[in-house]
Amino acid sequence: MALLELKDVSASYGAIQALFNLSLSVNSGEIVCLIGANGAGKTTAVRTITGTLPITSGEIRFNGEQISGQRSSAIVRAGIACVPEGRRVFPEMTILENLEIGGFITRKDREKSQAIVDYVLDTFPVLKERRNQAAGTLSGGEQAMLVLGRAMMSQPKLMVLDEPSMGLAPVIVEKAFDVIKNINEQGTAILLVEQNANMALAISTRGYVLEGGEVKLEGSAEELKSSEMVRKLYLGGS
């Protein structure tokens, strides 16, 4: 049974439909990427999974339970963490506070919370050094690390990453992807939503290509890499 399963999910912004019968699944331990150009519906898909946008039809199941129609807070509690598009750190809060708020659902167990904070800070030495600095003062790359850390705080079974590479220098992107691989090796399944198909396919096991709110292509990372369409559209090959 798949960990996350979207079945014929449609969603719209007012009168404009943005997703058409999207079906996809993520199994435990996998990295699955969802690639597509601007306006393909990638972020919309993320928003339906995290419960910040209601779906108009279809269903979303996580761990066998229906999560579509539930509140975001319940979805986080169920085990899905999200790194939203554009990172969205809380700029006025310190790094430590940003992490602590990521552990909002584990907050009752202070010792456990503290242990995860320590673990995250050890994973990101940059953040450890500056833990009492306002998050808004961090560089883009550091903020990217912070939101990954923030998402780790809830100890999710699945992490949904919405364009983690956006606006980052290539070196930093590589670093971020290393961290993502690392998180995955610790046992967290990952749904990686990316425009940077090259990088995304390099670390994924499977992938889906989204276009105009529909899945145009799906398959293993190898298959997608060699597909004529993906090469032409996203990998810049001829």
Partner: protein
């Protein structure tokens, strides 16, 4: 908001301000001054209450004076019509105002910004109209008199000085609880929702609950303030609860420091006093407020509290640098 102050500095400033308020009646002895001081404390509680919604949770709901009217009338009615003690009045005020506040918080889940501000103005107008016209209950524009004074262990709190210290104890407790809440996970949740609601929801915060909690807390605080106000004045009528007075609360919070508890205390204290000083200008004193607000927003949008924090830092740096210079000489 643009302000971050270490908790330690914030606590020290709050402590110093409370100490100043504690000794104030001995610096200002005459009856009129002590009367004003009592009003200062009431306003301090109201501005702390406003800060929960506007400062912490970032919801532009500006209906504080509507809640204040409701809570004052509840204590007035409980102690006159029902003939019960002040303490029952206080309890009823707190509960009923919190319930009202909760109910008015519900629309904020759908409304925001300008629309919410508009709704709060409507709420104030409706509240005062109801108070004026529901004569059988509220005695209409004539108001309610003979509101009971608190009795503690058989002792009636009768003088302005005694009343001041009763209010002072309550204000201090409420101010301290406010900063404890600010530092708790609830405080974090408020600020997360204020700064970025979507991001807050994504990390598992129930934004709906957080906003409603801010409203309920605000209602509780206004409940205490209204009960004390009614009992202190012994007479209330609808015209006290005006839109103009409501805008003063906003001025107090913005000038003191939006999102800061000691800022709220300082803003309420200074501006309540300033209003008295400017009595000779009649209603033109609002002009002075307008100018002060504009200056604040241009030069220190974080309010006086940020300015104060910076001054402390500056003094500290001067104090620590001087001895070293002497050594070099």
């Amino acid at each position: 908001m643009g302000m971050r102050m270490e908790n330690k500095k914030r606590n020290i400033i709050l402590f110093v301000v409370l100490v100043l308020l504690a000794v104030a009646p001995y610096l200002f002895h005459n009856n009129y001054q002590r009367y004003v001081l009592n009003n200062v404390l009431i306003n301090v509680m109201l501005v702390i209450a406003l800060n929960f919604i506007l400062g912490f949770a970032g919801q532009v709901f500006l209906g504080t004076i509507g809640f204040f009217a409701i809570s004052s009338y509840v204590t007035a009615l409980v102690t006159t019509t029902l003939g019960m003690s002040f303490w029952w009045g206080l309890l009823a005020s707190v509960v009923i105002t919190a319930v009202f506040s909760f109910c008015l918080g519900l629309p904020t889940l759908k409304l925001s910004g300008f629309y919410l501000a508009l709704m709060s103005t409507g709420f104030i107008v409706v509240t005062t109209d109801v108070l004026k016209n529901w004569s059988s209950l509220t005695n209409g524009v004539w108001g309610i008199s003979n509101i009971a004074r608190p009795v503690i262990f058989g002792h009636v709190i009768s003088t302005d000085l005694q009343f001041y210290y009763l209010s002072f104890v309550m204000t201090s407790i409420l101010a301290i609880i406010a900063i404890v809440i600010e530092d708790s996970r609830f405080g974090r949740a408020f600020k997360a929702v204020r700064d970025d609601q979507l991001a807050a929801e994504i990390v598992g915060i129930n934004a709906t609950k957080a906003k409603l909690l801010a409203f309920i807390l605000s209602g509780v605080y206004v409940g205490v303030a209204g009960a004390l106000y009614a009992s202190f004045q012994r007479f209330i009528s609808p015209d006290v609860f005006s839109l103009q007075q409501n805008s003063l609360f906003m001025c107090m919070l913005v000038i003191g420091g939006l999102g800061s508890v000691p800022g709220a205390v300082i803003g309420a204290t200074l501006l309540t006093t300033l209003t008295e000083v400017l009595r000779f200008m009649r209603e033109k004193y609002l002009l002075v407020y307008a100018v002060v607000i504009i200056i604040t927003l241009i030069y220190q949008p974080g309010g006086l509290i940020v300015f104060l924090g910076q001054t402390i830092d500056w003094v500290k740096s001067k104090l620590t640098r001087q001895p070293r210079l002497r050594k070099e000489i």
